[in-house]
């Protein structure tokens, strides 16, 4: 109850600030002054919330059919869902930290490709069964950069098993996930720490080879449960 109350208060404060900021922004633009204000595109969290809700519904559907789908079936179903809801190219870029700018276009493309495969394969491996899990949205906020944070929980047997926070940013005309924070652990930070460590010690080719090996391991027949 205390958590829900704090979320409601936070949402009210954010909406209030954005409402005032939007009116000032319109006035400033009308005057042609171009002074920076809160990003005008983040006027509602609903589109971002809808992206998360749809993706989580896909996860539940896959979990319920996990045994009959097997790993390959789960991968096939989840691949378009992940591509539609996640900005994987952007995420891949961030995970490379300062090394991204030193890569050739071909290396960048190769990395994004294997990163995409690894992301989908990880989902297909982890969501391999159903025990009554339920996702529930618990709040949504607009952040300082104009991104949206959608807070959810994953529960089973009436107990919260995980707190899952999704960060979304606009990509073209859509909102896409750019980070997932599970029980306080940022997936982006986790990957960035590891990938930059490997590059520093062994080089980019070694990182690429390791990720390809991970994809192969996850895709092994023993994983087709």
């Amino acid at each position: 109850m205390r958590f829900a109350g704090s979320v409601i208060k936070t949402k009210a404060a954010v909406v209030g600030r954005r409402g005032v900021a939007s009116r000032i922004g319109v006035l400033v633009c009308a005057l042609g002054l171009g002074i920076g204000t809160a990003p005008a595109y983040a006027t509602s969290t609903q589109p971002a919330v809808a992206v998360v809700a749809h993706f989580q519904q896909t996860l539940i559907t896959v979990m319920k059919k996990a045994p009959e789908l097997g790993f390959k079936g789960r991968y096939r179903v989840l691949s378009p869902a992940v591509l539609a809801s996640h900005n994987l190219k952007f995420i891949a870029q961030i995970t490379m930290g300062p090394y991204w700018q030193h890569l050739s276009a071909a290396s960048k493309a190769a990395f994004v490709a294997v990163f995409t495969q690894l992301t989908v394969a990880t989902y297909a491996t982890q969501f391999d069964g159903y025990s009554g899990e339920v996702f529930k949205e618990t709040g949504a906020h607009v952040l300082a950069q104009g991104d949206v944070l959608v807070e959810t929980t994953l529960s089973a047997d009436g107990q919260t098993k995980a707190v899952l926070d999704y960060l979304l940013a606009p990509s073209g005309s859509q909102w896409k996930i750019i980070n997932i924070v599970a029980n306080g652990v940022s997936d982006l930070a986790l990957k960035r720490a590891q990938y930059t460590e490997v590059i520093r010690n062994k080089g980019f080719p070694a990182l690429l080879a390791t990720l390809k090996k991970k994809v192969a391991q996850l895709s092994r027949p023993s994983k087709a449960s």
Partner: protein, 272 residues
């Protein structure tokens, strides 16, 4: 057992506490030593704990393992209550006292988590979180033999968790020792899924564990609800870049493990 581990750890730390600048930088100044302990722990787990845990999972039915988990969490729960009080969380301490009493009585010494069903949910508090509440800095990241990831600030938890555990007040080593062993095995069995996740998904298991552990501790210290500013800062990459091509060995960008406020590559900022 945890007290003996603490003494061993103290000796090892004093023997090898020369600060070396591993890639861990500010949060992990003792990285070379920590990595050695991590290798030791992985080896010990692979050849001893993992086989024991797997056998335990095979022979012990899940409801019984669940009951043991509730029991061991309950006998250790006075530690949560003590830390509630030390942090001034009096309302939470009252709830946790109620939880302990309900589970110890109606819940048959904690074998059943009855308190959850009457709205007395479990909290996680330890001495490390209390020290954080009091403003004590995290200190270096540590990997302790047998214990695993930790921080210097959290090491008093090892002793406090023994002192506040009801299991060690039965007055009979004959009774306590097997229970302590069962606690360790049950805990390892419960960690099976997490350890398998690390094995399957980590590109660098040491860095993965360090990053995940420190982030999760920060999450617990904030009561399971990270401030929005913390989440915003997660998205900002380091400002500096290395001075050469990435392979094979690169100078470490400053503040590699700490994000700084700065410009983030555009994810496409056009309006939806």
């Amino acid at each position: 057992m945890r007290g003996q581990v603490l003494c061993l750890v103290a000796a090892l730390l004093l023997a090898g506490c020369a600060t070396t600048n591993g890639a861990g930088g500010g949060v992990d100044p003792w990285e070379p030593m920590n990595r050695r302990f991590a290798v030791f722990n992985r080896t010990a787990d692979r050849y001893v704990m993992a086989p024991v845990a797997h056998t335990y999972i095979k022979v012990m039915p899940r409801p019984l393992r669940s009951a043991f988990t509730h029991f061991f969490r309950n006998v250790a729960y006075p530690g949560v209550i003590v830390n509630d009080i030390l942090q001034g969380r009096l309302r939470q301490s009252a709830s946790d006292i109620g939880r302990f009493v309900v589970n110890s009585t109606v819940g048959m010494l904690g074998l059943f988590d009855i308190a959850r069903h009457v709205g007395l949910k479990a909290h996680k508090e330890d001495m490390g979180m209390t020290l954080a509440h009091w403003g004590v800095g995290q200190g270096p990241y540590l990997v302790l033999p047998f214990v695993g990831p930790d921080t210097l600030r959290n090491t008093p938890s090892l002793l406090v968790s023994v002192v506040t555990n009801m299991m060690y007040y039965t007055g009979s080593a004959t009774f306590t020792a097997p229970l302590a062993v069962l606690d360790v095995i049950n805990t390892r069995a419960n960690a099976n899924a997490s350890l398998r996740y690390v094995h399957e998904n980590a590109v660098d298991a040491y860095v993965f564990t360090r990053s995940a552990y420190l982030q999760h501790r920060n999450f617990l210290i904030h009561g399971g609800h990270l401030p929005l500013k913390t989440i915003e800062e997660m998205m900002l990459p380091p400002m500096t870049a290395p001075t050469g091509p990435p392979a094979p060995a690169q100078p470490v960008p400053p503040d590699h493990h700490h994000t700084k406020a700065g410009v983030r590559p555009s994810a496409s900022r056009s309006p939806p």
